[in-house]
Amino acid sequence: MHHRFLPSGPVFSPSATAFAALLVAAVLGCSGSSTGPNGAAEHARPIELLNVSYDPTRELYRDINAAFAKHYEQEHGTPVTIKQSHAASGSQSRAVIDGLDADVVTLATWPDVEAVAKSGLLRGDWQNRYENSSIPYHSVVVFVVRKGNPKKIVDWQDLDRDGISIITPNPKTSGNGKYSFLAAWGAALAAGGSEDDAQKFVSAIYRRTPVLDTGARAATATFSQKGIGDVHLTFEQEAHLEVDESKGGLEIVYPKRSIRVDPPVAVVDQNVDRKASRHAAEAYLGFLYSPEGRAIIASHHLRPWGDTPPPPAVGETWPAIETFDIGFVAGDWNNAMKKFFGEGGVFDAIYQPQPDKQPAKQAGNQARTQGGT
């Protein structure tokens, strides 16, 4: 396979080719990645790093890369260029496993990085290499609503009201979708509900979801461009982009509580050792914890780790929101994946046709937009 990387911008075109790529990945999958074309040749300066990341961080890493390159050259005298690759987090993880030569991965969810570790490319202790379990910034799931909040949606319980239609991507195919699902579940638990209550609440939400897009940005287009739905569940930084783009047509609502979105980062041990780029790769991720890195992260509406996080902009503050993490919702990610999103899990059960009802077959030509009308 031959990958070429541009310094920034879209590298993989999204859905159109994604399926073909995925199928190839499925076929070649675990057959073991080769050692690469040029062995362990000593890396000549200047150093080149490849950061394999997910969709919404495109703008963030463009800024980080520029700042880090300057910083690293000043500090060590070695020029460094960073190339980025962005696509859906899960398929990026597969690409690295299948041989994409990433120096660092900065992915959306813990399972995506853990999958790379399981393939042997990362050492098992990757989580302990950086502060906060290698999570340099976090986000929260918030609501985006139409201007003036006409449906008066202020907190989670408002989502399960007659006439509310919700937009969120398919949690089986989207990390953004997974987090929205977990946020709703956790919100029900945090409000004092039982597991049963949580399941009822989450089922109600998906019954009010007329479209299940396969990715986060597709869901954004459905909500903002096509005007479908009353509320869009998404990450805080994505919500800011969406609202800015709408030029006053949309606004953000912060629920009282939400899930903390923790995207981890890791140096891909095998690749950096082979390419002799470990020093720069480690410094690159370390830069995310530096004052300069934290300020850039904050300016993209991601919440940097550490005490007194810098504000998104001068004079702004981070809106207060109570957060819970994956541990509160499901114990850990493995458990969450199995219980909620695995084959036959909670999410599948929501769509299981009721035994007493005929399943709606493809013969019905009308989309059933539940709760939408």
């Binding site: 859905s15 999103f341 599948d348 769509y351 009308q366």
Partner: protein
């Protein structure tokens, strides 16, 4: 008897077409590398599951519903595409009107356009707020996020095939036979049904097969307009992607294998049909 016989020469005589050995080698290599090896790996992958696991992965109620959506929508789209393609080809070949050349070149646009864009544009047009949706939705026609929408985009991506296959056959059709048919007293209808249709029908069926194959494999256009609701508008490839998201490679491959077997069966049937029609037409 003493004529010099060409027999010895024939043994060494080379085909009239030059470069047979080379082209056969290239053909074999291409087909092996591009088609046979990937398919074999697909089969091997799926075979890493036992029969029960295979069934558990590929034959769930949800997967069956997805196959039904994929096959049903693709068949419908291929039929619509064949009928419309025949009409368009007819107009382009038989009727001379200003802008014909332009129209003719527009036929190929769906081949060049990334299909994801087509899916996005279609769904934007047909939602309640869209240019077409604002008229259609009040009339009860929900084309975005529905089975109808899937058929619409599949017709879009498959139409060039049906047009382009029928067009040359129509062009080569001898007008004399039609005139003879009319002179001998056949009605227009009879002329079409008895003279023209038998000549072009094999091409129509070939177009149908190509359209069907194209539609079954489409992913990008469909995910943007189908809404992906399980049991209703979820196509099989979306299921494959969700299994890959769980890093369940073998299970994903199992679904792919079932889909592949279904499409190959369909294509074999269509091919058989086409051969029979072609034989009858002679």
């Amino acid at each position: 008897m003493n004529m010099p016989t060409p027999a010895r020469q024939t043994a060494r005589r080379r085909s009239v077409l030059p470069g047979f050995g080379m082209s056969a080698a290239i053909t074999t290599l291409m087909i092996t590398a591009m088609v046979i090896i990937p398919l074999a790996v697909l089969g091997l992958r799926a075979a890493s599951l036992g029969p029960t696991e295979f069934l558990a992965a590929a034959w769930t109620p949800r997967a069956r519903a997805a196959y039904a959506v994929s096959l049903g929508a693709s068949l419908t789209a291929a039929i619509v595409s064949s009928v419309c393609g025949l009409l368009v080809a007819w107009v382009l070949v038989r009727i001379n009107f200003p802008g014909r050349r332009l129209l003719d070149s527009l036929v190929d646009v769906p081949l060049a356009l990334p299909t994801a864009v087509a899916g996005l544009v279609y769904s934007t047009l047909y939602v309640e707020r869209g240019w077409l949706g604002r008229f259609l939705v009040p009339m009860g026609v929900q084309a975005a996020y529905s089975w109808l929408g899937i058929v619409l985009v599949l017709v879009f991506v498959s139409l060039p095939f049906t047009i382009r296959v029928v067009q040359p056959v129509l062009e080569s059709l001898d007008r004399d036979t039609e005139e003879a048919s009319r002179m001998l007293g056949a009605s227009r209808r009879q002329t079409f049904l008895r003279v023209i249709l038998p000549a072009i029908f094999p091409a129509v069926i070939t177009g149908f097969a190509l359209a069907l194959a194209r539609a079954l494999g489409e992913y990008g256009a469909v995910v943007f307009i189908s809404g992906n609701m399980p049991f209703k508008t979820e196509i099989a490839p979306v299921l494959i992607v969700s299994r890959l998201e769980e890093f369940a490679y073998a299970e994903a491959t199992a679904i792919a294998v079932v889909l592949l077997v279904m499409s190959i069966t369909l294509l074999v049937i269509v091919n058989g049909l086409q051969q029979r029609v072609a034989r009858n037409a002679q």
